[in-house]
């Protein structure tokens, strides 16, 4: 009984640590990666006892700075909602990761441990419900600040996130149709099959259009450049103008957590999740070649490692896009969401249905 509880706790703790640490590290990754892309060096001055380790102490210094700053609340702000909004933003970004599997079932001494914080047979719906609830934090922040500009910023953010969520929801319909399940673990397992005997049936292979649509809409859902007109760090006044100190930091943190979640989702749905090409439960099966047997623990380790590497790679790509593109105008973003992404995702559903009908059933 206690062991069972411990295992459940461990699974949740692993996911929490994974997301939180990655999210915290992203502030450093963002500064360093953008610097290297722009021929600069980037933050490297924070030091502990003379050690700088490539500026890795800067997230720490930032956290201390945020925690020690004045926590200002406007006089006419709604006390409760004003304090609640940043927590709502961070909370839903954090729990969204729970349904994303980070490995196959681990068998330890006649116990079967699913490597997933929560095993849900409607995992995808859960993730999108949580992502959509994130809008509430943003709107609450805009409304409770008692600041018209913050309210307008909250409206912009809500409009943008809704148009993005619609496209996200529609674009993954194709994936659900191909793999025939709403359970994230089943979808990832389905991506382990081989097409033509050698090509892993990852979502990016079976649903290339949905991949592009999903990543685009995903970036929009994180409210980061090129879709950052809700806040527009440098010039527009956004929904968190009135926030300071750690509450402001939590909004920034929520953006990074959402980036991790989007990267995790993309990995699980389109990049094969924890799948390593040609690695089955008993070892590597090189197509038309030898079989390299591996012990169970090594296989699971490889899978968890593969998932982590894929998520990091996806974050790298998201950061590349964020530091390359200029900001969309508000009407352009709306047009892209409603007249570009949404109809294309519907087209993708129709095409996927037609192809599935033609070949009679599921692809893999």
């Amino acid at each position: 009984m206690i062991l069972d509880l411990g295992i459940v706790f461990g699974r949740v703790a692993f996911v929490m640590m994974f997301v939180l640490n990655l999210g915290g590290l992203l502030t450093w990754v963002e500064r360093k990666q953008s610097a290297i892309m722009q021929d600069r060096i980037g933050a490297n001055r924070a030091s502990i006892l003379g050690f700088r380790v490539m500026g890795l102490f800067h997230p720490l210094a930032d956290a201390i700075k945020m925690l020690t700053k004045e926590d200002f609340r406007p006089a006419r702000a709604d006390r409760f909602l004003f304090a609640l909004a940043p927590f709502v933003s961070v909370f839903f970004a954090l729990v969204a990761f729970a349904a994303i599997p980070f490995g196959d079932t681990l068998r330890l001494a006649d116990r079967e441990i699913p490597l997933q914080a929560v095993t849900l047979n409607v995992g995808i719906l859960y993730v999108f419900a949580m992502l959509s609830l994130g809008v509430y934090g943003v709107m609450m922040a805009g409304w409770s600040s008692a600041n018209n500009y913050a309210l307008l910023g909250g409206q912009r953010a809500a409009a943008l996130m809704i148009s993005a969520e619609i496209a996200i929801g529609a674009s993954i319909m194709g994936v659900i149709m191909v793999y025939g399940s709403l359970d994230m673990q089943d979808i990832v397992r389905g991506q382990g099959h081989l097409l033509f005997g050698w090509l892993p049936a990852w979502g990016i292979v079976t649903q290339p259009l949905a991949f592009v649509l999903f990543v685009t809409a995903g970036i929009a859902a994180t409210k980061r450049i090129p879709f950052d007109m809700p806040e527009g760090e440098s010039e527009i006044i956004g929904y968190f103008v009135e926030y300071s100190g750690m509450k402001f930091g939590m909004f920034a943190m929520a953006d990074f957590l959402e980036t991790v979640v989007i990267a995790g989702l993309t990995t699980a749905l389109f990049l094969g999740g924890w799948q390593v090409p040609w690695l089955l439960a008993d070892g590597f099966h090189v197509p038309g070649g030898p079989v390299l047997p591996l012990p169970h623990l090594a296989v699971v380790g490889l899978q968890v490692g593969a998932f982590t590497v894929k998520v990091c790679l996806m974050i790298f790509v998201l950061m590349l896009i964020r530091w390359t593109l200029p900001r969309f105008r508000y009407d352009q973003a709306m047009r892209l969401g409603w007249l570009g992404l949404f109809p294309l995702s519907i087209l993708n559903i129709v095409l996927t249905g037609a192809v599935l009908l033609l070949i009679g059933g599921r692809t893999p």
Partner: protein, 179 residues
Amino acid sequence: MRLGQRFYLREVVEGVALTAGHFFRNMGRHLAHALGRTSARGAVTIQYPEERRPYSPRLRSLHRLVRREDGSPRCVACMMCETVCPARCIYIVAAEHPNPDIEKMPERFDIDLGKCVFCGYCVEACPEDAIRMDTGILEFSSYSRRGMIYTKEMLLSLEAAGTDGRPTSPVPIPANRTV
């Protein structure tokens, strides 16, 4: 917009390829640098307090008063620099020089660096070559305006910059500077 641009995708891929190219090229150079090829530089950054750009030999930096062999100022308090100064930042009080061959000397010679515009006219105007702006010192700052006033003694204590353009004497600290 052209039709191709309307779909964004090609343009986005081209843009990302460009920035990713920069990233990987710079990453390679950083790696080569870390592995011992010090000529490889992954960034154009000059890390300021440790590294500096080479100064031009014509650079106008903090003033100094040139000394005679006995250590007294070469200045004869003719007021030319005070007169020519467009910022009116020089304040001289003249006094009798003990040597009868030299008519005057400055009793006080203050420069308010908070006002100085570093035009170099005082150097040009000086008939005795008594004031120069060749110390190579650029970093003098203060939390108060009074701390920016440099007196005769401080200006006399400075030396010319070395051949590399770097200062050879420390930045004098005003006695009345509040830190």
